[in-house]
């Protein structure tokens, strides 16, 4: 075993001295991680995620006071950055991608509403802003659904008031112009016409009914408590973001490249004849490959620790519920990765073949193992295939610890799989290396 450590130390010294390799294996992943952190993470860099959604509001016949209140309300919500526009301008803004969506209220909506005319609220969506436009549609849809519910109840309770609105409609013309004071002054005007009086009575009835209905609806018979996939209890204080997923998944992705590069070293040493010289030395051959394995594991440990540490420091990524769960996941991920790529290196004859094979394997296993999409979101076929690659279990463990704040008991299965895979792969590389030495395959 001492010889294995000697070989490992030698490889590690060489890796540490190779500044270019350090740049490729640590600095570049770090830079990319920072990019992802800035894109999704927030942390010390402030606000995260999707910024306020630019929306154009088209409501040409809505009174000025209501427009102002609508705009203020949307701005204050923090979700929207609204701009007022006529329909032509809104169309241009959406088509040019200046706003994610336009909310188009119908012509003279208040009068149409009180006249019981059909009303269509439109959302024009930007094809390049599917997510943001979808959020606008969802929020507007919820509002419209509430209006529809109120309408259905009103019709069922006061069909006469609902049906006679049309007959009194003339009295509404011009009544709803201006702000609340203007409307009130108009209604209280002693010189008003009979139609206006009827309109006044109608509006009072409407108001009474709507208030009664709103009060009744507030005391809903059944509530719906929704538990979404966020930590509960104490963990609710913790912010989560897409970066909680991207940081470990990309760290594992880069780890695979780094460990694969380490495995290529075996072929490089063979080409330089240094491997053959090591084999000529006294003692068994296995410490050579175990040394390579230890060096790869150590390299992976440094890489993952640096990436996750930077993520925690700069982007406040959760490092798990206790100090030992995440380190155990890191160690088992590195041992499995080192075993896997060394086994690949021992199965092929040339460095170039290994190079292509490793890149193909990394990309495909990255896809089915959850490095590009969260493991929980993989379609069944991918999740099924993913179970046969080590990175699936690594990603699953990381997502449970970082995203779900779960301890060792919560990730027992993936940890056992990683530990089992590490052990089996270590045995495989020992058997393959010794067999190749005996056959003279490294000569």
């Amino acid at each position: 075993m001492t010889r294995a450590w000697v070989f490992a130390r030698r490889d590690l010294k060489r890796m540490a001295a190779d500044r270019r390799a350090l740049v490729v294996n640590v600095a570049l992943p770090l830079a990319l991680t920072a990019v992802m952190g800035l894109s999704f993470g927030g942390g010390v860099f402030g606000k995260k995620g999707i910024s306020a959604i630019p929306v154009a509001i088209v409501a040409e016949d809505v009174p000025e006071s209501m427009r102002t209140r609508l705009l203020e309300g949307l701005e204050k919500s923090g979700f929207f950055a609204p701009v007022w526009a006529d329909s032509l301008a809104a169309d241009t803004l959406v088509r040019n991608g200046k706003v994610a969506a336009a909310l188009v209220l119908p012509d003279d909506p208040l009068t149409a509403f009180f006249r019981a005319d059909s009303l269509v609220v439109e959302v024009w969506k930007d094809p390049s802003s599917d997510i943001k436009a979808g959020i606008v549609e969802e929020i507007v849809g919820r509002g419209v659904l509430r209006v529809q519910a109120g309408e259905a109840a009103f019709r069922a309770l006061w069909p006469d008031d609902y049906m006679t609105i049309g007959a009194d409609s003339l009295g509404l013309d011009g009544l709803l112009e201006g702000d609340v004071t203007d409307i009130w002054t108009r209604l209280r005007d002693p010189g008003q016409t009979a139609a206006r009086e009827r309109a006044f009575d109608f509006l009072v009835r409407q108001f009474d009914h709507q208030v009664a209905l709103q009060r009744a609806l507030q005391g809903a018979a059944a509530g719906l408590a929704v538990a979404d996939k966020v930590p509960t209890g104490q963990e609710e204080q913790r912010e989560t973001s897409l970066f909680d997923y991207f940081l470990p998944s990309f760290a594992v992705f880069f780890l695979m490249f780094a460990v694969a590069a380490g495995a290529r070293d075996l072929h490089r040493e063979r080409a330089r004849r240094t491997l053959q010289r090591q084999l000529l030395g006294p003692g068994p051959a296995w410490p050579i490959v175990v040394g390579k394995w230890i060096a790869s594991v150590a390299q992976g440990l440094v890489m993952l620790s640096v990436l996750l540490g930077v993520g925690a420091l700069l982007f406040r990524v959760n490092l798990g519920p206790d100090p030992w769960t995440l380190p155990i996941v890191i160690v088992l991920t590195c041992t499995a990765a080192a075993g896997f790529f060394l086994a690949l290196a021992l199965l092929v004859s040339r460095e170039k073949v290994l190079d292509n094979l490793c890149t193909a394997v990394i990309l495909v296993s990255g896809m089915i193992g959850g490095n590009f999409l969260p493991v929980d979101n993989l379609p069944p076929w991918a999740a099924g295939a993913g179970r046969y690659v080590f990175n699936y279990w690594a990603n699953l463990s990381f997502s449970r610890v970082i995203g779900g704040n779960e301890g060792l008991s919560g990730i027992a299965t993936p940890l056992l799989v990683l530990a089992g895979a590490s052990l089996v792969l270590l045995v495989v590389i020992l058997v393959l290396f010794n067999a190749r030495v005996k056959r003279g395959g490294w000569a």
């Binding site: 800035l38 606000k47 109840a153 719906l224 996939k229």
Partner: protein
């Protein structure tokens, strides 16, 4: 400039690329596999109708209101409702959702039907996974169904008792038919439409067919160019460049040969990949072939120049390889080839759109989604041209210096 030498270099580059079977895998096969698999992962390009997602209902009420609540969910083509006559803890519901056994878990307590008949209020528990579209849809369907029942119950509470005069804000009766008719055919409706070339409801660039296809064509064009920078490093080490200069080639010929050779490979790769995406996955690149050609040519020119620059900067092949892969990934991630730029904060969008990858994918989005032509894409094409000129100038200067040294 010796056109014969330049032509020979371009021809040789193409020949070498075609003859390298391993390289061909990276040139054509892997990009297509990657596009297809990412498309599958992101939800479309799958054949046939999607499988039904299970909504598990733990029903402790077993009353008539439960069936009314679940009716829309049962009628929904995307869901299969499984009712269990027992209770479940929060942890069990969460576990069922997390392990994929159910897309959503609804727990209905005893007393739900009584509450709907005017009894004490109850709370239903719905466990979902907001990251899944099917889970969100199940939530919307349940939410809507419960809203209908709550509204009806609330409205009925305003009806005066039989034989009594309704209060000023009360009602004499509740017209069930009018309620159902108004609910099914509401007077106030929402109409959502996508503006642009393809005015269909379900179209969007986060759909893999429209975003992933062009994005991975650009990504692999750049990747192939960048990792082939190691060939230039190798030729520098082998003194091939020096030997070429001693023969008939001047420094300008070498710069032109390397640049045009890389560009030819990039253009062939881009054309094949775009064509295969169109044929295999029915991708559509808009109505402006001129803008499409312009963006592909400018991107290939940029990628070829960047490859030469990297080849002159890197000291060893593995260094060029590592830096090339890393830079491609960085440019892909920041420029919006991995995820649409709309999901990142505005300052990252601004940075992304300033990069050549961001400019190229924005042109594709404009062509496909908005029906843009040359005029509308001109700012991005000019940006790409600027990148190309800057990187080419640097690359040419370095290569000439190294060749002359």
């Amino acid at each position: 400039m010796n056109l014969q030498v330049v032509g020979a270099m371009v021809r040789l580059r193409l020949l070498r690329t075609v003859r390298d079977r391993g390289g061909l895998v990276w040139l054509i096969v892997m990009p297509m596999v990657f596009s297809y698999m990412m498309g599958m992962l992101m939800g479309d390009w799958s054949n046939g109708t999607p499988p039904k997602r299970r909504v598990t209902v733990f029903d402790q009420d077993r009353g008539p209101a439960v069936e009314r609540l679940l009716a829309p969910l049962r009628a929904h083509e995307r869901f299969e409702v499984v009712v269990v006559d027992s209770a479940a803890t929060d942890a069990r519901a969460r576990a069922l959702t997390d392990n994929g056994s159910a897309t959503a878990v609804l727990r209905i307590p005893a007393g739900f039907s009584a509450a709907m008949a005017g009894g004490a209020k109850v709370d239903l528990q719905l466990t979902v996974d907001g990251n899944r579209l099917s889970s969100q849809t199940a939530r919307s369907v349940i939410d809507r169904s419960l809203l209908r029942m709550n509204t009806e119950q609330a409205a009925r509470s305003l009806v005066a008792a039989p034989g009594t005069e309704p209060a000023r804000d009360g009602a004499a009766a509740f017209d069930e038919k009018a309620f159902a008719a108004s609910w099914d055919q509401p007077r106030v409706r929402l109409r959502a439409s996508t503006l642009g070339r393809l005015q269909t409801q379900d179209w969007g660039l986060t759909r893999s067919a429209q975003h992933v296809g062009p994005a991975y064509v650009l990504f692999f064009m750049l990747m192939f160019m960048m990792v082939s920078a190691k060939d230039l490093v190798q030729e520098r080490h082998d003194r091939t460049l020096a030997r070429l200069v001693i023969s008939r080639a001047g420094a300008v010929d070498l710069v032109a040969g390397y640049f045009l050779g890389g560009m030819a490979v990039g253009l062939v790769q881009g054309a094949i990949l775009l064509g295969m995406n169109a044929l295999a996955f029915g991708l559509d690149y808009g109505d402006s072939p001129a803008a499409l050609v312009a963006v592909v040519v400018l991107f290939a020119a940029f990628a070829s120049s960047a490859s030469i620059l990297l080849g002159t900067l890197a000291r060893t092949g593995p260094q060029a390889d590592g830096l090339g892969s890393g830079l491609t990934m960085a440019l892909g991630a920041i420029g919006g080839l991995w995820w649409p730029l709309e999901v990142v904060p505005s300052f990252m969008q601004a940075i992304g759109k300033a990069l050549p990858t961001g400019q190229a994918i924005t042109v594709f989005h404009g062509l496909v989604g908005r029906g843009w032509g040359l005029a509308e894409t001109l700012p991005m094409l000019a940006g790409l041209a600027l990148w190309f000129v800057a990187v080419f100038a640097l690359a040419a200067a370095r290569l000439r210096r190294q060749v002359s040294a």
